[in-house]
Amino acid sequence: MESATATAPATGSIAHPDGERLMAPPDREARLVGWLCAGTGLALFAVMGLLGLTMRLTQAEVLGVSDEWFYRIMTLHGSGMLAGILLALMGGIWYVLKSVAELSFTRMLVSYAAMVLGAVVVLVSVVFGGFGAGWTFLSPLPFLPAEAWDTWAAAAYFIGLMLVGVSFLVFCIDVLTTLTRTYGGLSGALGVRFLRDRDDNPPPPQVIAATAVTAQGTLASAVGSTILIALLGKSIDSGVELDALWAKNLTYFFGHSYANLIIYLGAGMIYVLLPRYAGRQWKTTKPLAYGWLATLLLVTTAYGHHLYMDFVQPGAASVIATVSSSAAALPVAVVTVYTGVMLVWGSRYRWTLASVLIYLGFAGWTIGGVGAVIDSLIPINFRFHNTLWVPAHFHTYLMLGAVFWVMAFLVHMLERAAGRPASERVAKASVGAMVLGGYGLVGAWYASGALGVPRRYSVQPVDTEVYSAVASACVALFAVGFLLVLFEVGRLALAARGGAGRGSGAAAPPPIAGAAAAAGPAPARPALTSPLQIGTVVAIAVAASFALLPGISAATEGNVQMHHLAHAVQYLYGIALGIAFGSTPSIFRRLAPRWTGAAIAAGIIGSTAMLLAMVPAIYEPLQDDDVLHSLYHVGVVALGVITGFGAALLGPTTGKLLAVLSVGMGLMYAAGVTGG
């Protein structure tokens, strides 16, 4: 390795002298997105953290919050925290992707706005509507509130979460579309081509991570939209019936994926931030690519551990879930955290407030992961299910992992901008307080979880209030540490405004080869790339068109599920038409890629409207009139055409994924919704 110390700029005290060369300087848009997302995320964290303390103090019987308000606060805390930290790390990975892929700033702002709006709607639903069914909103609890909230509040909550979903989905589609276009399709961007030795210049690690996360995120969003729209439908028309087991499966698939993807997004960001302090590049290796392939699969199949105690769930699902849950630990322990520690080892790591938090995040992630694996063993879950062990483990990896990374991200940007690291004394004191307080909080939960104390009890069992009291004191300690971080953030921000920062002065040192090469996107391609594919889809359309025949249509009127299935097939017919039409070269050339934003909107609106149109209150009045009834079915096809057309413009990977998932939404809906 050549010596770079001589050329190191004056900012060598913040980052490792070689670190500057490992990352292209983020451009203005990347910095803006970074500030917005990390700032908003941490602001939400602060407010929601106070609510967390309120809950703990109530459980300790120090505060006298009513049951109504306890469960409202719990619902708000859970959804607000997840939305805030998700947003912050969406911004984090965007920040490190921007220099290696041409992401759309506008769409990231749309995504940001949708998340903030979603959080506001959730707030309204909880604070003014009294909604308090928990952030997992298990059906049918939202509709049987024991007079604690009105149905409109439940509907508002669903809309709020749908906006959170839209935010993440827009982000996922845009990132996935851009990365696959830039890095040679899905197999290129996921590193599969590299694994098969067909790619000498593999994508940087954050690209592989982001591809895996956004692919799974798109799937999770489709499932989440399905259950949320079904619930929204039931709040419009109480005649709608949702199967309880079906609802549980969809809800937990959505919730498990979102909560998991948060930390995986963070890992992608860390791939770029950590090298700046270690002075060593985080390279794409084959184990890393294998690890992300495994993660993509295992996040998808592990969700069943939430349904172990539903004995009617097929046994195979539980076996798959328990194997996946343990296996999911392997990429973390053998690839990401392992490599992270390796890169730090013997590197003369630069300890600043940001880099300490990065490092501590690994500890929170692994320790929380161990707690999760333990609870994912079926005989243990039989004794630990829904005890406080559950909040114990997920707070360990979210609060002491993901949130530490969010703080690290913000401080990293500030330390760069200010041209100096955070004060060492403040760093030591704040980190010390947060570690002691944070692990004290989760420690009390682990202990009372093992004791068998149920989670989500506003009033704690006899003689266990002491755990809540100790935990409250620990939260106070954590809060002191966090305030110190904010204090330092303020000082760094002032210094940065004073113009001490870099960027104005010395030119950036030459990047190390491959670290920052922003590959240009390949020319846009439609979803269907060959006449054969178009032909196949047209054949599917012809087959699906039978669902429109009056005879078949009439036969499905008797059974609601068959009827919904018929709708899904009609929708499929429309999608097939739309995607084939939009993929024909002459049309595609005229519209893509200027219409990417509209294409994403078409996909989301088409699929949402298709499911909402199945609410009996909407279609039943039409059924008496033959003309209106036929028009309705034509409308379902039209929504399919819109969806398919949008998918066509989004290219081979995202386009096909979107088309398949949209049909899947219709099928999932048909499987679980009856009534009316």
Partner: protein, 183 residues
């Protein structure tokens, strides 16, 4: 609702799980502290990488074998597929906002009981605490479905059933007693 109070206590199994977890967590913390000290030193990347890459397959194999073995063993101890034929008593359980009904309300000690658990309204969790206050098992109570939970109730006394799935306003208060009589 109200008069039955949950007063939990540890049993050996739960303590064992917690201790194993604590040991792993502390080892991890020590490892991270140790690695942090190594971080300050200066070593060539090649040397570190070579050692780490050489150890990685072993680490993977170790974890895969340990986790694989544990998962396989646990699969023999799942609460699924209760042996309904061998059961000496059947109890019908319904959970509702915010009560439990159990029929019958008592069984003799030594019974192998099948609890047929369902819900009248929303999802609930049928969590069973023995007379000492130890959580000995649970199953979900779901509207429209019946889950069969098999438990051997050898210890006589008053058992407590407390809700283990969030069900609304009085979830924490949804407890009921169940007697296992001396035989």
């Amino acid at each position: 609702m109200g008069d039955a109070l949950l007063d939990p206590s540890y049993d050996g199994f739960q303590i064992a799980v917690a201790v194993v977890f604590a040991l792993i967590a502390v080892s991890l913390a020590l490892f991270f502290a140790f690695a942090a000290r190594q971080a300050g030193r200066e070593m060539s990347l090649e040397a570190v990488t070579e050692a780490a890459y050489r150890a990685r397959p072993l680490w993977l194999a170790f974890l895969a074998i340990v986790l694989g073995t544990i998962v396989c063993v646990t699969l023999f101890f799942t609460p699924y597929r209760p042996d309904t034929a061998a059961a000496s008593a059947t109890v019908k359980v319904v959970g509702g906002q915010f009560y439990w009904t159990m029929d019958p309300k008592s069984v003799p000690a030594g019974s192998d009981v099948i609890f047929e658990v369902t819900a009248a309204d929303v999802n609930h969790g049928f969590g069973v605490y023995n007379p000492t206050g130890q959580l000995i098992g649970n199953v979900q109570a779901m509207p429209g479905y019946t889950n069969d939970l098999e438990l051997s109730l050898d210890e006589p006394g008053t058992y407590l059933v407390s809700c283990l799935e969030f069900c609304g306003l009085k979830h924490h208060d949804m407890a009921a007693e169940f007697e296992v009589t001396e035989e």
